[in-house]
């Protein structure tokens, strides 16, 4: 068996999500090769070569892959992927965008968002917003899989010494073009990788009020997340949404502030080690999953908490 892992990166550094995918690949067993497709992405390839357990790094450095456009990248992965038993990517917006395209080009079903490897062909994955866990077996000649990052330990960033090989023709489908992006800038830790996450919901009332959460987060070294309602209302940007259809987090500590605890929100955070809920409604469903619940007005409790931690 040999496994191809699609590296997640921004042409400058390797995203930690890839380390979890490498772990999933190692759990499947066999040689693990990492594909770094991008533009001017040599530094990423060097980092990937250091990752523990990686046999070979394939680098496709071309303008066509600079922005990870699915139309181009899927052609490359399909070409390279034919010799592999498995093709894996993170269940990130990049992986979700590209991998189903690869699966269809290879005429195989895809298995999305796995949380456990049972054997080389059998995997567990959450369905129905995590209210059920399916065990599925694939008979596809190439298994195309996305991996939930929070479900696997990260492979060590060092200890490996993979060879680096330039590969792949430039595939430019010519049907799509990158126009621009607005990336969130923050000095706080990345939501998906943070050890502590503080999230606000509709109860925050408006965007300015999120400042009290930022103060708490900065004191704790935490990332800040949000419910869908807070994003829809324009309090905070979309990249902060935690949940079934947003980001999945599983930190050591998750603090839900002014969040009711809808199933779609719980789907994104209920694997957290410790959950704290601050809500003025003692009947709020979030208390059913909280290790520590505080029935209080958040505008009093949060500043007090910030002062005391």
């Amino acid at each position: 068996m040999s496994i191809l892992v699609l590296a997640e990166h921004d042409n400058a550094s390797l995203n930690a999500a890839t380390l979890a995918v490498v772990s999933a690949a190692k759990a499947i067993g066999g040689d693990v090769d990492v594909l770094v497709a991008g533009e001017g992405c040599g530094a990423v390839a060097e980092q990937a070569a250091q990752v523990d357990g990686v046999s070979k790094v394939l680098v496709a450095d071309n303008a066509a892959y600079g922005h990870q456009l699915a139309e181009n990248l899927s052609l490359l992965i399909t070409e390279l992927g034919k010799g592999y038993s498995h093709i894996l990517a993170a269940a990130s917006t990049t992986g979700k965008n590209v991998l189903p395209r690869v699966a269809a080009l290879l005429d195989v079903d895809q298995i999305s968002d796995i949380i456990a490897v049972e054997s080389a062909d059998t995997f567990k994955r959450p369905i129905y917003a995590g209210n059920a866990i399916a065990t599925v077996q694939s008979s596809a000649p190439v298994k195309v899989i996305t991996v939930r990052g929070t479900a696997f330990d990260k492979a060590a960033e060092t200890g490996g010494s993979a060879s680096v090989e330039q590969v792949g023709a430039a595939h430019d489908a010519g049907t799509s073009a990158f126009v621009g992006e607005e990336l969130a800038k923050s000095d706080r830790p990345e939501l998906a990788a943070a050890g502590i996450v503080v999230s606000g919901g509709r109860g925050m009332g408006n965007g300015e009020n999120f400042e009290i959460l930022y103060s708490l987060a900065d004191k704790l070294g935490a990332a800040v997340g949000a419910s869908r309602a807070a994003v829809d209302a324009g309090f905070v940007p979309n990249d902060m949404q935690v949940g079934q259809t947003g980001k999945i987090v599983a930190p050591e500590l998750y603090v839900a502030v002014g969040i009711s605890g809808a199933i779609q929100h719980l789907a994104g955070m209920k694997e957290s080690k410790i959950i704290v809920a601050i809500n003025k409604d003692e009947e709020a469903p979030i208390f059913q999953v909280a290790d520590y619940g505080l029935v209080a007005d958040l505008f009093e409790a949060v500043p007090e908490l910030t002062g005391k931690v």
Partner: protein, 249 residues
């Protein structure tokens, strides 16, 4: 311009699904079903394009058993012009749906195909991308804004780091995210009108598509439940617990 919208019948998003006691699947008997919320957003976007004079006809398609005609009627009540049901009792995986959709696409030749980014039952997030691959069309997934002009569609996408905008040649595929629009409610007169709109029924065999899957569902289990926690009486007590009991700060 003609727009094709694909919709799926799923469990209502307010319902918490239960696992069957024999662990073969989830139990959907007597459960309230509805149009997948992301598909509803897709229909709404198509209707808005028609209202702006960009789209001239909206065709809505669903694959599944007879009951999915209800969801096609919902889409027709929201403003789609006609429906197509691809009738099958088989369990369909995303690739099979993408193949069926391609067959419909080849017959209908729309300029834009809009789907939801994921169905809230299987949570796969695959069909739009697979369909785009099979047809060789460009894709704008997880869209929060769609603008059609000069033979292209500009799609703003919700990505992990923020927002990304891509320009796609038409025909193109768009999959919707939550912020694209807020679907309207169908009015009673429109619900009545929808009953008389045309709805064609086809089978996978009519379309020449094999719907077999390479994935076998071995088991479905309930997730591990979190054990109930406690209520603390004050911020001081919370801090004390987090420091000394949970040891997370």
């Amino acid at each position: 311009m003609k727009v094709l919208v694909a919709v799926k019948r799923v469990i209502d998003y307010n319902v918490k699904v239960r696992v069957k006691s024999d662990n073969t699947d989830v139990d959907l008997t007597n459960v309230k079903m509805a149009i997948n919320p992301f598909c509803e957003i897709a229909v709404e976007e198509a209707v808005r394009l028609k209202e702006q004079g960009v789209a001239s006809e909206i065709v809505v398609v669903s694959m599944g058993p007879k009951a999915c005609q209800e969801q096609i009627r919902t889409a027709l009540a929201l403003g789609a012009d006609r429906g197509i049901q691809v009738e099958t009792e088989d369990k369909l995986d995303s690739l099979a749906v993408a193949k069926l959709l391609k067959a419909v696409y080849d017959e209908e030749k729309p300029d834009l195909v809009i789907l939801g980014k994921q169905a809230i039952d299987s949570d796969n997030n695959q069909t739009g991308q697979m369909f785009a691959a099979l047809t060789g069309l460009p894709q704008g997934t997880f869209a929060s804004e769609v603008k059609v002009a000069d033979g292209k569609v500009s799609v703003t996408r919700e990505i992990d780091g923020g927002l990304q905008t891509v320009a796609l040649n038409l025909p193109a595929v768009v999959t919707t995210d939550l912020r694209l629009n807020e679907p309207r409610y169908a009015s009673l007169p429109n619900i009545m009108k929808a009953k008389r709109k045309p709805l064609d029924v086809k089978t996978p065999a009519d379309l020449g598509v094999e719907v077999a899957s390479s994935v076998t569902l071995l088991k479905v289990e309930a997730p591990a439940e979190r054990s109930a926690g406690i209520k603390v009486g004050s911020v001081d007590e919370l801090v004390e617990k987090l420091k000394n009991e949970a040891k997370v700060i």
